[in-house]
């Protein structure tokens, strides 16, 4: 098929506005998947994606469509993850397209990630087709959505197509407007091989499968290729398209979207955003926009049962094969034993990995409180990066500690602005400016330490605004601040899993919170347990778990002896599963409770 007959487009939206559901309808209407074989959320193939209703990976699929003008088209669709954790992956998917369907939930209107995604699409020079979805909802407000399109995004409201992905309304209009409005792929004139790798997966039987958009040239089995970021050579074994199953084709041409398989061993070798070129006539320059992605959030993951360490290691290796953005390294903790320090793109990414370990690999794990990466300037001029508070050097040799900052945009109803500003302040944020979006909503632009928004910030915005607020953020460098290390001591011994880096002004409060939480969860024992919070050796909070006063069975007649002995054995067995810090036994549940509680942050 000629390149004039190809359209590459993606679907972008704020989380949950209906991208995946709409994609499903497009697949059905184009008969790519018949109604009968369709399971809902066709493109969300991972169990977890389907269950949580969140798209985690980009899913390309080729659809055949005969338009009203009688012509036949190949429409390459890309469903993209809606969550900020995956912003870079989204940007690479966008780079593989000429057009974008911008989905807006008719009941929610434009939200923070809508804005962020439109900016991304414009940066890539994409044609944006606005779609107002979920018009079947009784709370749908189409007029207001159109106004917001104009006021906030400068997109003419009457360009919008009104749809209900659920009820199947407006689907054909979308297909027609893709044909009409999205340009056919632009192709570079020199015909050198250039392909944008925008995602990859690992298949047990076929190895690494690269997702590719051909910018120019042709690839076919047997061709010697190389990845430009690593300069490594490979040979193409197979190419094809997604229908959405992988279907072999003789070749992929300029403008095509599909997959390639070469002798690539791990997804770590194939970086998202990389350029595939030919060995013999390589492109001079890679395609623009490539970045190495680095994890932003770190956390320790430990097996609850120490004997499971090797299993956990194997599970992590398998996960990484499929997801190179997840990194891990063995570490050990006095409190938790042997485990791994893991890096994630963000909190959602972290939760997903943890859940997959639990679910797909049946691992019983405990994870430590998430941390960001700090830059530590030592007095001798050396600059360290620290992703684990336990490895912070002694305070006497620290000149300053810098923490990652993000630029955040928060969109909220007018009446919540006070609360949200308060929240931003509480999280040590600095408001840059606020701007009215329309008569009902404002947009707050601010800078915040990443560490402060790691855990419950988004949830708080949602609950303060009854679900109407939304936020988006991007990294904005590092800034020095008065940061200190907070240690928790149990009978004088520091428990590394509870250490954290916090702002000086918040350290005491947090120390007190943590101490009282610990008091709650550490069971009474034979001895008094002193719980202390310390900042650089200075005790700032203390709590005491008094020694157990009574633990003795009243009645023990002859027949009871077996039962009683077994009870003692069971109690003892239970304690074996506790971590002992000195003479104090801390149950696993206590760690989990503290690490989970928001006091942990």
């Amino acid at each position: 098929m000629s390149i004039q007959q190809t359209r590459n487009f993606c679907i972008i939206a704020h989380i949950d506005h209906g991208k995946t559901t709409l994609s499903d309808r497009l697949l059905e209407v184009t008969n790519t998947i018949s109604m009968r074989e369709s399971t809902d959320q066709q493109l969300d193939s991972m169990d977890l994606e389907r269950e949580r209703g969140i798209t985690i990976k980009s899913h390309p699929v080729a659809m055949e469509y005969t338009a009203k003008n009688g012509q036949h088209y190949t429409l390459n669709l890309m469903d993209t993850p809606g969550h900020v954790d995956f912003a870079y992956e989204v940007s690479r998917s966008l780079a593989a397209c000429e057009g974008a369907l911008l989905i807006i939930d008719a009941a929610q209107g434009v939200e923070a990630q809508t804005v962020a995604n439109v900016h991304l699409a414009h940066k890539q020079g994409l044609t944006v087709i606005p779609v107002i979805n979920k018009i079947d909802l009784p709370t749908a407000d189409i007029e207001s959505c159109k106004r917001q399109l104009e006021d906030i995004l400068a997109i003419p409201g009457d360009e919008a197509i009104c749809t209900s992905a659920k009820a199947g309304i407006g689907i054909v209009e979308i297909l027609e407007s893709i044909v009409e409005r999205v340009p056919s792929p632009k192709v570079m004139a020199d015909n050198r091989v250039r392909g944008l790798v925008f995602d990859s997966v690992f298949d047990t039987y076929r190895g690494v499968i690269g997702y590719i958009r051909m910018a120019s040239g042709t690839i076919q089995p047997g061709l010697g290729v190389k990845l430009m970021s690593s300069n490594k050579n490979y040979e193409i074994k197979d190419v094809g398209v997604f229908t959405p199953k992988m279907e072999t084709r003789p070749q992929l041409n300029a403008g095509d979207v599909g997959y390639f398989i070469a002798n690539i061993k791990t997804t770590a070798e194939i970086k998202i955003g990389d350029t595939l070129t030919e060995q013999r006539h390589p492109s001079d320059e890679p395609l623009p926009g490539f970045q190495e992605i680095h994890p932003m959030v770190f956390s320790g993951i430990y097996p609850i049962n120490t004997a499971d360490f090797e299993h956990l290691k194997a599970a992590m290796a398998k996960l990484q094969i499929n997801d190179a953005s997840f990194v891990y390294q063995a570490e050990s903790s006095i409190a938790l034993g042997f485990g791994f320090r893991c890096g994630f793109l963000g909190l959602l990414h972290m939760e997903i990995i943890q859940e997959r370990l639990r679910r797909e690999y049946n691992m019983d794990i405990i994870s430590t409180y998430p941390s960001v990466i700090y830059e530590v300037l030592k007095t001798n001029g050396e600059l360290l990066t620290v992703d684990n508070p336990a490895f912070l050097p002694d305070f006497s040799v620290i000149e300053e500690i810098r923490e990652p900052i993000v630029k955040a945009t928060i969109m909220v109803p007018n009446e919540n602005i006070g609360d949200i500003m308060g929240l931003v302040l509480e999280k040590r944020g600095v408001v840059d400016h606020t701007e009215s979006l329309d008569t009902r909503r404002v947009m707050i632009s601010c800078e915040l330490p990443l560490n402060e928004i790691l855990v419950d910030f988004n949830d708080k915005i949602k609950s303060m605004t009854r679900g109407y607020g939304s936020m988006d953020y991007e990294p904005a460098g590092y800034r020095a601040d008065k940061l200190v290390k907070l240690d928790m001591l149990v009978n004088g011994e520091p428990v590394d899993a509870f250490s954290s880096i916090v702002h000086r002004d918040k350290a005491e409060g947090r120390g007190r919170q943590l101490a009282s939480k610990l008091k709650e969860v550490i069971p009474t024992q034979l001895y008094v347990v002193a719980i202390q919070a310390a900042i650089g050796g200075k005790i700032v909070a203390r709590e005491t778990v008094s020694a157990s006063r009574k633990d003795v069975t009243a009645k023990c007649y002859g027949g009871d002896i077996s039962r009683k002995r077994k009870l003692l054995e069971k109690q003892k067995e239970g304690k074996k599963r506790m971590k002992s810090i000195g003479k104090v036994n801390i149950p696993q549940e206590a760690f989990i409770a503290v690490l989970k509680s928001s006091a942990g942050g």
Partner: protein
């Protein structure tokens, strides 16, 4: 062959089932009693065929052995006397509920060789007796005690319970004083335990009743203090006796001696074997008559388990445990000594007051 020195007989019948009690028992059903008593005697015959029985102590427990009528008791006790060599017997205890004591029964028991009575008084407070769902009044309990004395029993234990819902310290002290005034040879003072499968446990689980370990500890300590002061030696966690009036049957359990148990739910331990009869009167009776084993559970008590039990239960008594048994746990013993949970007199380790309060936690180290 070493003769078996301790015999237990379980009589699983009560007039009324108390809401806190998890012992195996049924509502009294006088009609089928004869068959049950015959089963007990048959089991005794079978067992004496297998091993040499020459008890020093016999304990009739329950349930409520005194719930049997005088003639049923006579039939059973006579039957036992006919089948057993009682030449070594020095203690024969029978448990009684105050509502089932009569002069004729008391005289009969005395005449047939029972020389120790253990009676469940629980409390002298009418309000608490009703919380405990007891069938007798305080006055009835006192009268029963007098009857037992009149009948010639000079070795009597009274069971008491503390930490009963709504019980105040004053109420408990009054019960202790009243008991002391009556002057039994032995007092068992049990802290109420919420046992699974009881009405009390349900009320506890639903939050209706609560347990406060500090409060339990206060009452426990008050008990030890008071009884000690008036000459009752707290020779086991919950047991207090005038010197020489300890319950030797129970001491035998705690010191790891062998014993034979007859009747449904009764445990036996002989050497490395331990077993329990089925806890079901019907099943027990029919199995015995069918010539089948009435055993419902068995376990092997190997040397290390036996040692663990001797330590765990020995520690509960004021004889304590011989230091040389504790060899493998030297460092734990040292720790407990230095922390004031243990004392020793060179040869034996004993719990201190502080240690008694947490005896279970301490015992864990040795199982």
């Amino acid at each position: 062959m070493m003769p078996l020195r301790h015999l237990y007989v379980h009589i699983p019948f009560c007039l009324k089932v108390c809401p806190y009690c998890s012992f195996y028992k049924e509502r009294l059903e006088p009609t089928r009693m004869r068959r049950f008593l015959d089963a007990l005697l048959l089991e005794l015959e079978r067992e004496s065929g297998k091993r040499l029985l020459q008890p020093r102590t016999i304990f009739f427990g329950g349930g409520t052995p005194s719930a049997l009528s005088a003639s049923q008791l006579e039939y059973l006790l006579t039957g036992i006397r006919e089948r057993l060599d009682l030449s070594a017997l020095s203690e024969w205890t029978l448990e009684m509920n105050p509502a089932t004591v009569s002069m004729s029964k008391a005289r009969l028991l005395r005449a047939l060789g029972v020389n120790r009575i253990s009676m469940g008084v629980q409390s002298w407070d009418p309000a608490l007796l009703s919380v405990l769902g007891r069938v007798h009044t305080a006055a009835q309990a006192e009268r029963s005690y007098e009857i037992l004395r009149e009948a010639g029993f000079d070795n009597i234990n009274l069971d008491l319970m503390f930490a009963v819902p709504t019980q105040t310290l004053a109420q408990w002290e009054a019960t202790l004083e009243k008991t002391i005034a009556l002057g039994p040879e032995h007092i068992s003072a049990y802290c109420l335990t919420y046992e699974e499968d009881t009405a009390f446990f349900e009320r506890f689980s639903s939050g209706l009743y609560a347990q406060n370990k500090d409060w339990d500890a206060d009452l426990f300590e008050a008990t030890l203090d008071r009884l000690e002061a008036v000459g009752y030696d707290g020779y086991e966690i919950s047991n207090h006796a005038r010197p020489g009036r300890e319950c030797f049957h129970n001491l035998a359990y705690w010191e790891g001696a062998d014993y034979l148990g007859l009747g449904p739910s009764a445990f036996s331990t002989c050497g490395a074997e331990r077993w329990q009869n089925v806890a079901d009167v019907q099943a027990y009776t029919s199995r015995i008559f069918a010539g089948e084993s009435a055993i419902g559970f068995r376990e092997e008590v190997d040397a290390s388990t036996h040692l663990a039990e001797r330590i765990a239960f020995g520690l509960r008594t004021n004889r304590g445990v011989a230091l040389d048994l504790l060899g493998p746990w030297q460092s734990v013993v040292d720790e407990y000594l230095s922390e004031g949970f243990f004392t020793h007199d060179g040869a034996r380790i004993r719990l201190t007051r502080k240690g008694k309060l947490v005896a279970d936690t301490l015992a864990e180290a040795f199982v």
